[in-house]
């Protein structure tokens, strides 16, 4: 083994930094899934009747489905009766009136995550809707946003205060019948984020939510719904971490984005759920359905994701390009180290005329990591002059990892132009040596080259996120060169 390989091995063995557990009383539903569980959740959340009905329909549909097995990831069967579907921190009063009222332990947890709410409120100008387990515990900057007419709140709150919006848009992009995990989520989702930007409003700040799975054996099933009305625009950031546990935990979220005429939504994710230990024990199963609908003409939806965590990641943030001249984008960095598996990519569905999509996917496999890009570009008959460009690059670090590329291209319109390119390579020995000859350590050289490899994607992230993503990549890569 050469020196570089050595240093990388040391790097790999670094522990997960965010693996602490908060000691907070939780109000939990009993284990298992039944109509009673769903009624329990709905009741706790004081939901309107239509929501309970919808949940039950989704549950009944879910019962008819089998868990999918078509992707290239492997995992033991999940016992859905062994999961706690509702877990909320017990609060001193009913709800916190301000940050001061929040359980100090909870705030410390956020501190450890590097997102002290107060600091963020004061310094970063970011409105944070923090989701701790299943209930939204603090929403900042609400007043400021309210002045613009922007609704930014927990899903439960939206269901109570804006039932007409929820009723109109929920499930309109990802139906409860969409797939196994979307059906499950629709039945049991406990909370999440709701955001509505009224016509013509440019959201004055980046909106952000940090999710965190804390209670043992609890699955997290959040649901996010973002609507940008005509001419509105919003940028939304999502970051995730979870504590270390030996058991696997399930995270099955649903995200729906709706962009009406001339609206723009930018959705960025940095996903750093616990990936399991280096032998593959524990870690999050991240099975997520994310889809955006460019419903209006000239609308634009852009997904940017940096996926470094989770034992298994399985998600395909997609865009339905329904409106004429609408634009869909997908920028992704997925890193798998140790025993992690990722099967991720996107779907671009061109329906409207002059629709355009861009896909840039960077996969990095290290250790025994398995990384697959799976993407669909579909141009329907009416999509005159549709354009797609896809670029999928894989970087392999070490000789026990694997990288796969599975693009699906379906074109039914002759005026379309679809281009796909993919490469697979490793870090060149000459590149490493060149950097080391300039005085960089092997570790820094690798990290620099990998960051360079991902640059096109990082460029798409909001500044603070890009910095975090780069750091995260360095940490996740530790010990992985061969």
């Amino acid at each position: 083994m050469n020196t570089a390989a050595h240093e990388l091995d040391t790097l790999i063995n670094r522990d997960y930094e965010y693996g602490f557990e908060s000691d907070i009383d939780s109000d939990m539903a009993p284990k298992g899934l039944s109509e009673e569980t769903i009624r329990f959740i709905s009741e706790r959340k004081q939901e309107p009747g239509f929501l309970l009905e919808w949940r039950l329909k989704a549950y009944r549909h879910w019962l008819t489905l089998k868990s999918p097995n078509w992707s290239s990831v492997h995992y033991p069967p999940i016992n859905f009766q062994d999961i706690i579907y509702y877990s909320a921190p017990k609060l001193r009063d009913n709800a916190p009136k301000s940050l001061e009222e929040i359980d100090p332990e909870l705030l410390r947890t956020y501190d450890k995550l590097g997102i002290p709410l107060k600091e963020q409120e004061l310094l970063a100008g970011v409105a944070v809707d923090a989701v701790f387990d299943s209930v939204s515990v603090a929403t900042t900057f609400k007043d400021r946003l309210a002045r613009e007419g922007i609704v930014f709140c927990s899903f439960s709150e939206a269901a109570r205060l804006h039932p007409e919006l929820v009723k109109q848009y929920m499930g309109s992009v990802v139906s409860y019948m969409d797939n196994f995990y979307a059906a499950l989520n629709s039945a049991v989702f406990s909370d999440g984020t709701f955001c509505y930007i009224p016509p013509g409003v440019k959201c004055p700040m980046e909106l952000s939510t940090y999710f965190r799975i804390n209670a043992k054996n609890s699955g997290q099933f959040e649901r996010t719904l973002i609507i940008a009305d005509k001419g509105a625009s919003v940028s939304y950031l999502e970051g995730c971490t979870a504590p270390m546990r030996d058991e696997n935990q399930l995270h099955a979220a649903v995200v729906e984005l709706i962009a009406l005429e001339d609206a723009q939504i930018r959705y960025s994710t940095v996903q750093n759920w616990y990936p399991g230990d280096k032998d593959g024990k524990g870690g999050i199963f991240n099975f997520v359905t994310k889809r955006g609908d460019c419903r209006g003409s000239r609308s634009r939806i852009s997904w940017t994701q940096v996926e470094t965590g989770s034992a298994i990641t399985w998600k395909y943030p997609s865009v339905i390009l329904r409106g004429d001249d609408s634009v869909g984008e997908f920028y992704s960095v997925a890193l798998t180290n140790n025993c992690q598996q990722a099967d991720t990519g996107t779907k671009m569905l061109h329906i409207g005329r002059n629709t355009r999509s861009t896909i840039v996917s960077k996969g990095i496999s290290a250790g025994r990591g398995q990384n697959a890009y799976r993407g669909l570009v579909k141009v329907l008959k009416g999509a005159e002059n549709a354009r797609n460009y896809s670029q999928c690059d894989s970087l392999l670090l070490g000789n026990r990892c694997a990288a796969h590329t599975f693009p699906y291209i379906e074109v039914k319109n002759p005026t379309a132009k679809v281009e796909h390119e993919a490469t697979t390579s490793r870090i060149g020995e000459d590149q490493l040596f060149y950097c080391m000859q300039r005085g960089l350590s092997a570790e820094d050289a690798v990290s620099m080259i990998v960051n360079g490899f991902c640059r096109e994607v990082f460029k798409k992230l909001p500044m603070e996120f890009a910095v975090e993503a780069q750091k995260l990549l360095g940490v996740s890569l530790e010990g992985s060169i061969g």
């Binding site: 060149g428 080391m436 000859q437 350590s441 820094d444 360079g452 640059r455």
Partner: protein
């Protein structure tokens, strides 16, 4: 400063260098000349610590330290700089980023504080003028899409910034037109100083019209077969390598 004693190097089972002795003092400029395949580049690579070469015999001392024990990045931080014959392209990594990382790695090693962004930029701009390089190239990915001349200038720029004690210029003249050769040479000449040694590795004499060596060595078939003053290079230019090799009884 640099002491090479009986250096024998092979790649796999194939001996490339067969007993090199070389002594370089601070402030000196040495030229190592020789035909293709004589082992010139191997010598440069071994000095910089490239893997894939086996030192079967001999030693290299740099400021009385055993160079062969040092990892490549430590050699770099100790002050050895290699201007690559084929500068490597690194997609996505901005040139300026690599420069900054390299400078600060060196400074840290020397116990100096890291340069702040402003000082660094100022310094870089000053050195850019020295090598006649377009500032825009700083923000492009390292060597990616650079012309041959731009790549070589970039190497000299790095050298100017890193201020090595010993600079190895591996075929820096190759692929340059006469104007580029002039600017690159001027850059190198500006970096001459009494504490810095420079080893020029070249196939042709023409670089030596611009950078004047103190000593010239001819490398053939893994050995230094002749050493002399600057006049040796001129004789070589006139008569080719053939006469030397024949004279030494080595088939050309």
């Amino acid at each position: 400063m640099l002491e090479i004693r009986n250096l024998n190097v092979s790649i796999g089972d194939k001996p490339i260098l067969k007993g090199i002795d070389l002594h370089v003092k601070p402030g000196e400029i040495h030229a190592i000349m020789g035909p293709n395949g004589s082992g010139k580049s191997t010598l440069a690579q071994v000095l910089a610590g490239r893997e894939g070469y086996t030192v079967t015999e001999g030693e290299i001392l740099f400021e009385n330290k055993n160079l062969l024990e040092l990892a490549p990045e430590l050699r770099a931080r100790e002050g050895i700089f290699l201007a690559f014959q084929y500068p490597v392209e690194i997609p996505g990594v901005a040139n300026i980023y690599l420069l900054k990382a390299a400078i600060n790695a060196r400074r840290k090693h020397q116990g100096l504080p890291e340069l702040d962004a402003m000082d660094f930029l100022e310094l870089t701009k000053e050195k850019l003028r020295l090598v006649g390089m377009d500032e825009a190239l700083l923000y492009r990915p390292v060597n990616e899409g650079f012309s041959g001349g731009e790549k070589k200038r970039n190497e000299i720029l790095q050298m100017a910034l890193l201020e090595p004690k010993l600079a190895l210029l591996d075929e820096t003249d190759s692929g340059l037109d006469i104007d580029a050769l002039k600017t690159v040479s001027e850059g190198v000449n500006a970096l001459k100083n009494p504490d810095r040694a420079i080893i020029l590795i070249t196939h042709y004499q023409r670089l030596l019209d611009y950078i004047h060596p103190d000593r010239v060595h001819v490398l053939a078939n893994g050995r230094i077969i002749r050493s002399g003053g600057p006049e040796l290079a001129l004789t070589l230019e006139e008569r080719g390598y053939g006469w030397l090799e024949t004279a030494e009884g080595i088939p050309a």
